[in-house]
């Protein structure tokens, strides 16, 4: 079928396999066919194109849209009803709640004249979602031909391999067909196919070559590559349009577009900025280095004291508690280095993730690093229980230093009403998270959920060398 070959590139073998499976219109085919392959390997496109071109009666449903059973079953029945009814008659909407009703109604709908002697195809795209629906649905669809006693074939399309679909007690095994990934030659051929008419095919092919050179090791998804190809082509053509280079000047064109593509990998490919923002940048010819992606640090402008709270939280999360003395006490005396530096690479805290810490430890570290930078009034309302108990001459509520807490590690009763609302707002911004329940007896525990790069940027803005205080970087 020459017409089909023009529509579907690089998939001749799969098209012929499917065609021979279908056979003639009235022939029976496999009750169920399972087609799997990477995303953008042409499963949906080939199946749809083939069924449409051969004009076989079919229903196409995407399982992502059908989050309830009813949506799925009613879609299939109503689409079939539309197929079988004539153009003028408006068929009544069929309702269906259970799979049992579906089988019964399906038998009725397929009695129609136009559907009687041919194979009806039901195509379920993104079939992996069927596994999460009712347990009888997947085995039921696989046997639909037997349950309804009609000439119907169910085609399942998915990225996930068949072994992950099979129910525990077994089921009717479908025919499994694999759609291989496109080789780099195939990708080149398909991408070069949609070159704009103003430029020659060779010019566009050279561009695709450069694009694949940058992106192929990272991504082989045809949809992503096509998107990137369309977005970045104006930049490639720019020297030609401006008259600075001819179409054959590949070296110059390459030098112009390659850094642009590398920048695209860090922004548009990651969806840090939208495609319209990217196009605007190209048109205005601004420097892509000024792009502010979604996760840019500069978006978060914290108050001065909050930055210190965040830094203290990061230190509390990533330093083990036993090391606090060494980092935060002014006079920690001699600490044996050998015991201290006992670490394997795996237990590096930066690999395992942040650990929770109690509020008092956060405040102690905070006061120790803030110390001379913020007015002493910030410390005023903290109290060490030991000092309060043993030194009864000290008036109740008199300030006690964080040093005391860090060295004696007794219960610390902070009444830090200045810091608490700041901490709460950091939790709202999701820079800190609350761990465990609110009503825990020993007070709330927090965890710092920012990355090292982020906290270094913050620390830089307040001239704090955080690396000096991190255990993992000793």
């Amino acid at each position: 079928m020459a017409h089909l070959e023009n529509l579907v590139l690089c998939r001749e073998s799969q098209v012929s396999t499917l065609q021979s499976l279908f056979g003639e219109r009235h022939h029976f085919s496999f009750p169920s066919i399972f087609i799997y392959g990477h995303t953008a390997s042409g499963k949906t496109y080939v199946t749809q194109t083939l069924l449409k071109t051969l004009e076989l009666p079919h229903v196409f449903v995407n399982c992502v849209e059908c989050f309830t059973l009813r949506l799925l079953l009613e879609q299939i029945l109503n689409k079939l009803n539309h197929l079988s009814s004539s153009e003028d008659a408006c068929p009544t909407h069929i309702t269906c709640e259970t799979f049992n009703d579906f089988v019964r109604l399906f038998k009725q709908v397929t009695k129609a004249e136009s559907l009687k002697d041919q194979t009806v195809y039901i195509v379920l795209d993104k079939a992996e979602y069927l596994r999460d629906m009712e347990a009888n649905l997947l085995p039921g669809f696989l046997r639909l031909q037997e349950l309804t006693d009609r000439n119907v074939t169910v085609i399942l399309l998915s990225e996930i391999v068949w072994e992950k679909f099979r129910p525990n007690t077994g089921c009717f095994e479908p025919f499994v067909l694999y759609f291989p990934d496109y080789s780099i030659g195939n990708l080149q051929k398909i991408l070069s196919h949609d070159h704009p008419p103003e430029y020659s095919a060779d010019f566009y092919a050279a561009y695709i070559n450069i694009l694949l050179g940058v992106f192929y090791t990272v991504c082989r998804d045809l949809k992503e590559l096509r998107h990137l190809a369309v977005l970045n082509f104006p930049k490639y053509c720019e020297p030609v349009v401006k008259g600075e280079a001819s179409e054959r000047d590949t070296r110059k064109l390459w030098r112009n577009v390659e850094p642009h593509l590398k920048k695209a990998m860090q922004t548009v490919y990651l969806r840090e900025i939208s495609s319209s923002q990217w196009e605007k940048i190209q048109k205005d010819d601004t420097d892509p280095g000024q792009l502010k992606g979604l996760s840019a640090y500069t978006h978060v402008e914290l108050p001065y004291y909050s930055k210190f709270i965040l830094i203290a939280a990061y230190l509390a999360s990533y330093n083990p508690a036993r090391t606090d003395k060494r980092f935060f006490l002014k006079h920690h005396g001699k600490i044996k280095k050998t015991n201290f530096l006992k670490k394997h690479e795996k237990t590096s805290n930066h690999l395992l993730g942040p650990k929770p810490f109690p509020l008092d430890r956060l405040l102690a570290i905070l006061y120790s690093i803030v110390d001379s930078r913020v007015a002493a009034t910030a410390n005023i309302f903290s109290q060490c229980l030991r000092c309060w108990v043993s030194d009864l001459q000290r008036p109740h509520g008199a300030p006690c230093s964080a040093e005391c807490f860090l060295s004696c590690r007794r219960t610390f009763l902070p009444t830090a009403f200045l810091e608490l609302p700041l901490i709460t707002s950091l939790v709202t911004l999701q820079l800190l998270t609350l761990v465990g329940h609110d009503d825990q007896l020993d007070g709330p525990k927090y965890k710092c959920t920012v990355s090292l790069d982020f906290i270094r940027a913050i620390a830089r803005t307040v001239n704090f060398d955080i690396i000096k205080y991190l255990y993992d970087f000793l």
């Binding site: 056979g23 029976f28 496999f30 390997s41 039921g140 996930i160 499994v176």
Partner: protein, 419 residues
């Protein structure tokens, strides 16, 4: 996986087990189908060479064979289940003709011929004069009637009792149940129509709440009321999963003693038959065998990008060093960095978010799996994961990976555990 014990009144149940498919049945069944082609050859020689008739002939053959392979239409040969068949038909005749109540459970692995057996028996039963007018059949399937409510409505519908109008069954569950039991209780051995209940995927019925339906069915079959036969069909998991025309069939038989998989193999070979290629050859069967025995996970790994392959190799090394303990993205990234900084020439040092996107793609393909459900508060980089490929699978897939850079391949074989 046996169906849950049915705790009803003492049930006298016969159990039929189609024998495990033996080699002879397999081969004779397969060869019988293949020899169908010889008939085509004979008849086409007799006709004057007429292209139209030839392709029509082929079309007919395709149609018949497809019906047999795909639609499991009945043909007269029963291989290997004659004993069970005789037993079953005896039992059904006793219910249908002499009014005796009975129950049977047919157990066998998937594709061993249970449905075919009962369909055959029913067909033969209906050919008897006095039976076809009297006996009622109710066909239930555990996949369709997922609870007793639906099952009850279906029985009422199929028996066409008075509370059915068109397709709709009126009344609540309790009303329907009492109505059905009334209808069945009113009868006696001599004057009422026997009913045969066929319950496919019987084990699913045993999971219904309180097993109300099964309890009542078996109860009726025991007491002196309308003669009722209850036939259950259930699969039993097959334990034998190990992994030239006779050689291919033998190999296939060694892999799966399942008639359905044989049908699939033959169907694949049948697909190659066209008017330009009218006879199935050994080569067709070989190619069909190839298609059947592909390793699907290896296929998926074949289509990954180089960066994703590097991540899988990093995970493999982590598994080797730390003995299959779960890892998180940060650890994998760390391993990857070590490779890129020390050994790689062809792999560029990608930014962390780009590597994260590749990692998430692997998760989407279900090649790696989180140990527990993602909570909202947890950072993605620190979530613990497990790799669902083993070392041999990875190494085999790497062999076939197209244009694999040499340094990546070398890294796979020797880890960088010298720190």
């Amino acid at each position: 996986m046996m169906p849950k014990e049915c705790d009803g009144p003492g049930v006298r149940m016969g159990i039929l087990e189609p024998r495990q498919m033996t080699g002879d049945c397999f081969f004779s069944s397969g060869q019988g189908i293949c020899s169908g082609f010889q008939f085509v050859e004979m008849s086409s020689r007799k006709l004057k060479s007429n292209n139209l008739k030839h392709s029509e002939c082929l079309s007919q053959v395709q149609r018949i064979l497809r019906e047999r392979f795909c639609h499991q239409s009945l043909h007269s040969n029963l291989f290997g289940v004659q004993v069970q068949y005789k037993h079953l038909i005896e039992l059904l005749k006793r219910t249908a003709i002499y009014g005796e109540s009975n129950s049977v459970l047919i157990i066998g692995p998937r594709g061993s011929g249970k449905t075919m057996l009962i369909n055959h028996a029913l067909k033969e039963l209906m050919e008897v004069e006095e039976v076809s007018e009297n006996v009622l059949q109710v066909h239930l399937n555990g996949l369709l009637q997922i609870n007793d409510n639906i099952a009850l409505k279906e029985i009422t519908r199929q028996l066409n009792l008075e509370n059915v109008v068109g397709d709709k069954v009126f009344g609540s569950f309790a009303e329907n149940l009492s109505f059905l039991l009334e209808a069945l209780k009113k009868g006696d051995r001599t004057s009422s129509c026997p009913v045969i209940f066929i319950l496919d995927e019987f084990d699913l019925f045993a999971h219904h709440k309180n097993q109300t339906l099964l309890y009542n069915l078996f109860d009726i079959s025991q007491s002196a009321q309308t003669p009722v036969a209850v036939v259950g069909l259930t699969c039993r998991l097959c334990l034998s999963e190990d992994r030239s025309v006779r050689e291919v069939l033998q190999k296939h038989f060694n892999v799966s003693k399942n008639l359905r998989s044989l049908h699939m193999l033959l169907m694949l070979a049948l697909n190659r038959v066209t008017s330009s290629h009218p006879f199935m050859t050994a080569a067709d069967l070989m190619e069909a065998n190839q298609l059947c025995s592909m390793d699907s996970k290896a296929n998926i790994v074949h289509g990954l990008s180089v960066l994703e392959i590097c991540l899988i190799i990093a995970m493999k090394h982590l598994n080797d060093i730390y003995e299959e303990e779960p890892f998180n993205f940060q650890m994998v990234y760390n391993e990857f960095q070590k490779f890129v900084q020390r050994k790689a020439h062809s792999v560029y040092n990608f930014e962390k978010p780009v590597v994260m996107k590749a990692f998430e793609h692997l998760q989407q393909l279900e090649l790696i799996r989180p140990m527990e459900r993602t909570s909202v508060n947890a950072q993605r980089e620190y979530q613990l994961m497990k790799l669902l490929l083993d070392s041999t699978q990875i190494m085999n897939a790497l062999q076939k990976y197209p244009n694999c850079p040499t340094d990546v391949r070398q890294w796979a074989t020797s880890s960088l555990s010298w720190l």
